[in-house]
């Protein structure tokens, strides 16, 4: 059987002009100048077949090329090389709002938009009530689309798109907008399409939807397919990747072993500087430096401190913050009754804070480190939320930390055995 969609070694190159020399004047003044371009490969050597009736999810971080791929499938972009074969009518639903004209009413836009999707006036007239009903816009039928909220606009666009007589549906980020109620309707439609044996390609960030509805998922990264297989496996791969990617973008940027100040926030480090933090490393259970940790596993915070001049009163503190800055926990050597002896000037000191079992649940967190004197709370060096790390947890627990409790279930006493409320009254 021929596949519904066949993509063979497709690459897409965008030429990004370094200067937009698209005025006639520029062309006349510099007739021989060849415009400078920077080549950017949005997709490189993409190969896959989608059999008819398969529900495929495409996932990947922003800018990985998934929307470009969908546009190539829809015939909006031409691939730079390679070929795409589509067998059957396609209904593209790309990006938010399908080119509605803001000056026209919802009714008029439905007819124009339907015509773009290949529906005739007669078909649209018959299905008009369904379309408006699905979008839940009965009261706004004759209002101009410019008065619509973005959510209403997308709902209308989606309602029209699903009416198209297409066997292949391409959908980009449909779920990103719309309230929970509309999303539920979308999922119903997905299920219907699935039952009807339509081929659907869904680009989304909603990994749950991919796991629930897709038969297959494709993971794109920097224009390459890096995983193509069962949805559960692919989404797990993507989740791991997202964790690692934020390592690279972690707030604590190390420059030659030093923690750089967050340039956007010079207030994030201060202190008189007698003792200074040289670097902070987070170490996982296998002794490697890391920025992603698994809930329930050990994490060690290792701090190297340089001494510029010896101080006789030194306390080392650490605190944990949520990504929004809210302080979750904090302690210091004074509270823990651990005396810190400051080495003489020019020498260094190594401190470690070992967490045997990380009770934090999935999310991104920040660490603050402080070196201060206990007597007058004077800061020698304070790094405020400069170290970022992530915690991965796939157990489904919610919130910030593991409650740590245990369930016990045993046979209870029947209600009749208890003194009833009336009896005591």
């Amino acid at each position: 059987m021929t596949p519904a969609i066949s993509v063979a070694s497709v690459s897409k190159r965008f030429r990004v002009p370094l200067d937009r020399s698209n005025t006639l004047k520029y062309r006349m003044v510099h007739p021989r100048s060849t415009s400078k371009y920077q080549d950017f490969f949005a997709l490189q050597d993409i190969n896959f077949d989608i059999p008819a009736g398969e529900f495929t999810g495409i996932v990947g971080h922003n800018g990985c090329g998934k929307s470009t791929l969908l546009k190539i499938l829809a015939g909006i972009y031409k691939p730079t090389s390679g070929s795409v074969t589509i067998n059957g009518p396609v209904s593209p639903f790309l990006e938010l709002g399908v080119g509605f004209n803001p000056e026209l009413t919802a009714r008029e836009n439905v007819f124009v938009n339907g015509a773009v999707l290949g529906l005739t006036r007669g078909e649209l007239t018959r299905r008009f009530d369904d379309i408006i009903g699905f979008a839940g816009l009965e009261e706004k039928v004759d209002q101009k689309v410019k008065t619509f909220s973005s959510g209403q606009e997308v709902r209308l666009a989606f309602s029209v798109a699903i009416q198209a007589n297409a066997d292949i549906l391409l959908m980009d980020e449909v779920l990103a907008v719309g309230d929970a109620q509309f999303q539920a309707k979308c999922f119903d439609i997905f299920a219907q399409h699935k039952r009807a044996g339509k081929t659907v390609v869904l680009v989304t960030h909603d990994l749950g939807a991919v796991e629930q509805y897709c038969d297959r998922a494709i993971l794109l990264d920097h224009g390459h397919i890096i995983n193509d297989g069962a949805p559960g496996e692919v989404t797990a791969h993507y989740r791991r990747m997202v964790g690692e990617a934020s390592d690279a973008a972690a707030l604590a940027i190390k420059h030659g072993g030093r923690i750089a100040l967050d340039p956007a926030n010079p207030e994030s480090r201060w202190g008189s500087g007698e003792v200074r933090v040289r670097d902070v490393t987070l170490v996982n259970d296998s002794g490697e430096e890391h920025h992603t940790f698994t809930s329930g596993h050990p994490m060690t915070v290792a701090v190297n401190v340089d001494v510029a001049s010896q101080v006789n009163d030194l306390i080392c503190g650490i605190s944990l913050h949520r990504a929004d800055g809210y302080t979750l926990a904090g302690t210091n050597t004074f509270i823990c009754k651990v005396p810190v002896k400051c080495p003489p000037a020019g020498q260094a000191m190594h401190l470690e804070y070992v967490i045997p079992e990380l009770t934090l649940l999935g999310g991104s967190y920040r660490l603050s480190i402080g070196l201060s004197s206990g007597a007058d709370a004077h800061h020698y060096d304070k790094l405020d939320q400069l170290v970022e790390f992530r915690v991965v947890d796939e157990s489904g627990r919610i919130g910030v930390f593991e409650l740590g409790g245990a369930w016990t279930i045993s046979a209870g006493k029947p209600a009749a055995a208890l003194p009833s409320a009336e009896a005591t009254a």
Binding site: F14, L24, I76, K78, G99, L104, E108, G118, T120
Partner: protein
């Protein structure tokens, strides 16, 4: 194949109706404006050339002038609007796949609708005031209108595609149209004494040729066919060749640039 054609025809019709509607939506007088504009120009030119300068000669001069203005208004407004039709429909181009020339065709069809209404109104007025000479030769107006449409669609394809990449084109075309106005035999006829010396240059302008020949076909046979003024058989085909070239060039340029519209807009 015919399903695809039916789909494209349907889309063209919807887009044309939309543009027609949008053009007059929200203005109190609506369609009347597309009559008022040529009528104002007619009034001004009539007073200047017939009453003040007395150069407005020839049989049925008011009708000759009115016809010229209506045809010219169609040409200037359609091409002027078509320049930006691809660029301003970026959201549609980036989100749906359909033959891109449909946008241009729909735009020209939309303004052809008001043009045809205007032509009919002008003819009604002309017949009422006995300013028309109609006969079998008047049927030649039909191929002339086709020629006009071919010229307009050719230029529109060319301009709308290039405008996506060179935004100066909008201004350049506006100026060109303004200048072309003086050389398109609108307020004078090619056979008149004032332009006798330059007739073999002005007569090569397809717009002058179309307007002049439409006058012969509809208003008065005292206005000769352009061909009989150009005399030389090679010169005679120049205006028609220019129309053909504009269509060929428009299609060629559009086809070449079309794949990059979605990326550039």
């Amino acid at each position: 194949m015919s399903a695809a054609l039916a789909r494209n025809v349907n889309l063209t019709r919807e887009l044309a109706l939309t543009q027609f509607k949008l053009k007059y939506a929200g203005s109190a007088l609506g369609y009347v404006w597309s009559l008022v504009k040529p009528m104002m120009l007619f009034g001004v030119l009539y007073v200047i050339f017939e009453r003040l300068m007395h150069t407005g000669t020839g049989e049925n001069f008011p009708m000759q002038l009115l016809l010229g203005i209506v045809v010219w208004t169609f040409f200037a407004e359609t091409t002027g609007a078509a320049v930006s039709v691809v660029a301003s429909n970026g959201s549609l181009i980036k989100k749906a796949s359909f033959p891109r020339p449909i946008l241009v065709i729909a735009a020209t069809v939309a303004s052809s609708m008001s043009f045809l209404i205007n032509v009919v109104l002008v003819m009604v007025v002309g017949i009422a005031f006995q300013q028309m000479q109609l006969g079998w030769h008047s049927l030649l107006a039909i191929p002339l209108l086709v020629e006009l449409y071919v010229l307009v669609i050719g230029l529109s394809l060319f301009l709308s595609a290039l405008f996506v990449f060179y935004r100066d084109l909008g201004h350049i075309w506006e100026i060109s149209v303004q200048m072309l106005f003086w050389g398109s035999a609108i307020f004078f006829t090619l056979s008149g004494p004032t332009v006798a010396k330059y007739v073999k240059i002005i007569g090569l302008n397809p717009m002058a040729q179309i307007i002049e020949d439409l006058r012969h076909a509809l208003v008065t046979t005292t206005v000769p066919w352009t061909a009989s003024l150009l005399e030389d058989q090679w010169l005679i085909i120049v205006p028609f060749a220019l129309v053909g070239i504009s269509l060929a060039l428009g299609m060629f340029v559009f086809r070449r640039l079309e794949p990059r519209f979605a990326e550039y807009l």
